[in-house]
């Protein structure tokens, strides 16, 4: 399901598109301009809530960096959000080498090895390089021998939707439909000017969200809870 289809579904669930109304074909359709804007916000907010809360399968992907002689910092993928896993690493397959994060990051590295920026050789650690874009630094900085190597990494990508044909990040239509149900409830509350309430106290919202999580599980959800005796 793409973003446009999701918005249409949300608008229909909330009785905005009904009667003789046709589905919208573009977000610049001004017949329902205010409702379209609000439904986009509801879907985006709901998606942000979901991905900030947990990992959804659509987020995981992989990227790579190619070392360059004397180049210490490297840009990560444009849609990079964060590295995947509890102990993320960069992997050089030729040598079956894992490069892990320097414990404590650059802050600790600069204390332990003051000339870490000038050290040349085989990269053995990485650290987050804080700047205006998502970048990592390598320690040691690759020398001529270790230039031209491709290090792959797994990461969580940005699944934000913004234009009509962006796909909603779900495996199945039923997941996407259930997601729209949660967004539709958020839309209702936004429209009522109650967008700042604690959604975890709203029974309608929680029911829709539970259904979504049940569908997103790779195994059947538990049906019974409690202590088993004997």
């Amino acid at each position: 399901m793409d973003f446009l289809t999701g918005v249409n579904r949300l608008l229909r669930r909330n009785n905005v598109i009904k009667g003789d109304d046709d589905n919208i074909t573009t977000f610049s359709d001004n017949q329902h301009a205010a409702k379209i804007e609000l439904s986009q916000i509801a879907i985006q907010d709901e998606l942000n809530t979901l991905v900030s809360d947990r990992l959804i399968p659509y987020e995981k992907t992989s990227g790579s960096i190619v070392t360059v002689e004397n180049k210490r910092t490297y840009e990560l993928a444009a849609d990079f959000v964060r590295l995947f896993g509890e102990k993320p690493y960069f992997y050089y397959s030729t040598d079956n080498q894992q490069v892990f994060e320097y414990p404590g990051g650059e802050d600790h590295l600069r204390l332990a090895i003051p000339n870490y920026q000038d050290m040349r050789g085989n990269p053995t650690d990485w650290y987050i390089y804080h700047t205006t874009t998502k970048q990592v630094g390598l320690y040691q900085t690759p020398d001529a021998t270790h230039a031209g190597r491709t290090y792959t990494y797994e990461y969580e990508r940005d699944v934000t939707v913004s234009v009509e044909n962006d796909n909603l990040p779900f495996h199945s239509e039923s997941e996407a439909q259930s997601f729209i149900a949660t967004a539709a409830r958020r839309y209702q509350l936004l429209e009522l000017g109650q967008g700042d309430i604690d959604f975890d106290t709203d029974a309608i919202y929680l029911t829709a969200r539970r259904r979504l999580f049940d569908l997103m599980r790779f195994t059947n959800p538990k049906k019974r809870w409690g202590v088993k005796y004997g």
């Binding site: 003789d20 001004n30 017949q31 329902h32 301009a33 205010a34 000017g193």
Partner: protein
């Protein structure tokens, strides 16, 4: 905001004097006595093109003669040419005028002919008997020119005449039941009359040029230029006299005064459209001011052609580039009875003649308001046969509401639904002018027509009227109500809501609500 319906017309007064059913701006919308919908006027249709003679083919006059046996013939004055017109493409020459004129006719039913006058008084009084066009016998020694004519108390009365000397204040009345006998030496009352049935002349008491005549409830009314409105009293040449009817004002222009069934309307100096009936009943008060609602439209109008469409109960004021339209059946409704007709068509509603007459072509008794342009084209208003003006041109229908306020508009914005009948595929452009926002948020609502599979071929042809499906509601959706949502961006203390449809198709918006 209550449901927005459209029972009233254009009202340019202060906001506290405007009802939500009216509009503060608008044109080309129609008003109805049986519903409160937003719909377009019908288009005008071209029915023929007169040939050109030397001096061009500007349409200057229509004369229609309907005899007692209900046979009809129609003359068209195109330039200086006089043609009998069959109501279609056949124009048969019946003569040529020597100078530019604007001929107008009045029917002498007893004799079966029309007496024809000339607003420019350059052509002598003429006669059309359905076969030949020629000078009317008057019994006078010299030529008789007259600006206006009408039949009253079994005589033909000619007003603002010239016979040798121009005497615009003078009226001649034919002998009783003899429109070919006039007298310009025997003055009513003062003359010597054996029976009182003789021909005579009479003058406007203030001796000013006569610029409007009408009959109102069996009373002959005349207006004098820059003067007074008089009514005729008496019953024959021995006692006919003009008495002041209304000293407060008189008509301006040449053809602004017109009988409208139960009233006489005219435009007075300054551009105020007056009702003689209300003046008679209430005196010189705002009650007699029919243009109270549209003072901006009428301000400083100096001339117009006023035509009453009896069939549709509308009074048209052709004022040059547009027509002011007074819906008679809305007078007294509490709402403005006015609309304005404009056109994007090249004719621009600019005409030298407009008249209400029977369709010359059809054998049916159908009456329309006809007008012509400078290229010989003859049109009639309120056609149901064509799509767009002259079957070529979109009609822009527009109205803008007064300022509508509600807590919802202020706090949340506005959204709701448009209720309409599915007639044709048109686009309703809504414009939301939010207070304090100073921008107009657009909202285009596509109105649907009949379903593709419903061709509505119920008149025996392939399509209704055999052409485009231009006002076919189809069978499936006839009288069914459809709705479309709207929800523009923005919020403010209130809105002016403008509605525009630019189309050759008909549409019918029932109401606009602010409910989901």
């Amino acid at each position: 905001m209550a449901d927005l319906i459209f029972g009233g017309g254009l009202n340019e007064q202060g906001s506290t004097e405007i009802d939500s059913q009216e509009c503060i701006e608008g044109y080309n919308f129609e008003l109805s006595e049986i519903d409160t919908h937003f719909r377009s006027r019908n288009p005008f249709e071209k029915q023929g093109t007169a040939p050109s003679v030397s001096g061009g083919n500007t349409i200057n006059g229509f004369i229609q003669l309907i005899k007692q046996d209900d046979t009809k013939t129609t003359l068209v004055q195109a330039g200086t040419g006089i043609f009998e017109w069959d109501g279609n493409s056949t124009f048969t020459s019946k003569g040529n005028l020597t100078t530019t004129s604007k001929l107008r006719g009045t029917t002498w039913s007893l004799g079966g002919y029309s007496v024809i006058t000339d607003l420019l008084k350059t052509t002598v009084v003429q006669k059309w008997d359905g076969t030949s066009f020629g000078t009317l016998t008057t019994g006078l020694g010299g030529d008789l020119f007259a600006k206006y004519g009408l039949v009253y108390q079994n005589r033909v009365w000619l007003f603002n005449v010239k016979s040798g000397t121009d005497t615009p204040h003078l009226i001649v009345a034919s002998a009783f039941e003899d429109p070919e006998s006039y007298n310009i030496t025997s003055r009513a009352v003062q003359g010597s009359f054996a029976t009182g049935l003789e021909a005579f002349y009479i003058v406007a008491p203030n001796l000013r040029p006569i610029n409007g005549v009408a009959i109102w409830y069996d009373t002959l009314i005349i207006s004098t230029e820059g003067g007074i409105i008089y009514k005729l009293t008496g019953s024959d040449a021995n006692d006919y006299a003009f008495k002041s009817f209304y000293t407060g004002s008189a008509a301006t222009g040449v053809e602004t005064m017109s009988a409208t069934g139960n009233d006489v309307v005219y435009i007075r100096k300054g551009g105020v459209i007056e009702s003689l009936g209300a003046t008679d009943k209430y005196g010189d008060t705002s009650t007699d001011d029919l243009s109270l609602w549209i003072r901006n439209q009428t301000r400083n109008i100096t001339d117009a052609i006023t035509v009453y469409d009896q069939n549709r109960q509308k009074i048209y004021f052709f004022i040059g580039s547009k027509i002011l339209v007074l819906f008679k059946n809305k007078i007294g409704s509490g709402f403005s009875p006015w609309s304005v007709y404009t056109t994007q068509h090249s004719s621009q509603f600019t005409t030298n003649v407009a008249t209400y007459m029977r369709d010359p072509f059809t054998s049916e008794d159908k009456d329309y308001v006809y007008f012509g342009d400078t290229s010989g084209n003859i049109y009639f208003l309120d056609s149901e046969n064509v799509s767009g003006d002259d079957n070529t041109t979109d009609i822009v229908t527009y109205r803008k509401s007064l300022y509508l306020e509600s807590d919802q508009i202020r706090d949340i914005g506005i959204s709701g639904r448009v209720y309409y009948h599915r007639i044709s595929n048109t686009n309703l452009s809504m414009g939301f002018e939010f207070g304090d926002d100073f921008t107009t948020q657009p909202c285009n609502v596509p109105l649907k027509g009949p379903p593709v599979t419903d061709t509505g071929a119920y008149y025996g042809g392939e399509f209704y009227f055999g052409g485009d499906i231009y006002f076919n509601a189809g069978f499936q959706f006839t009288d069914l109500i459809a709705t479309k949502g709207y929800s523009p961006s923005g919020k403010g203390t209130g809105i002016h809501l403008s509605l525009t449809v630019n189309s050759r198709q008909n549409f019918d918006v029932i109401k606009i609500t602010d409910q989901p």
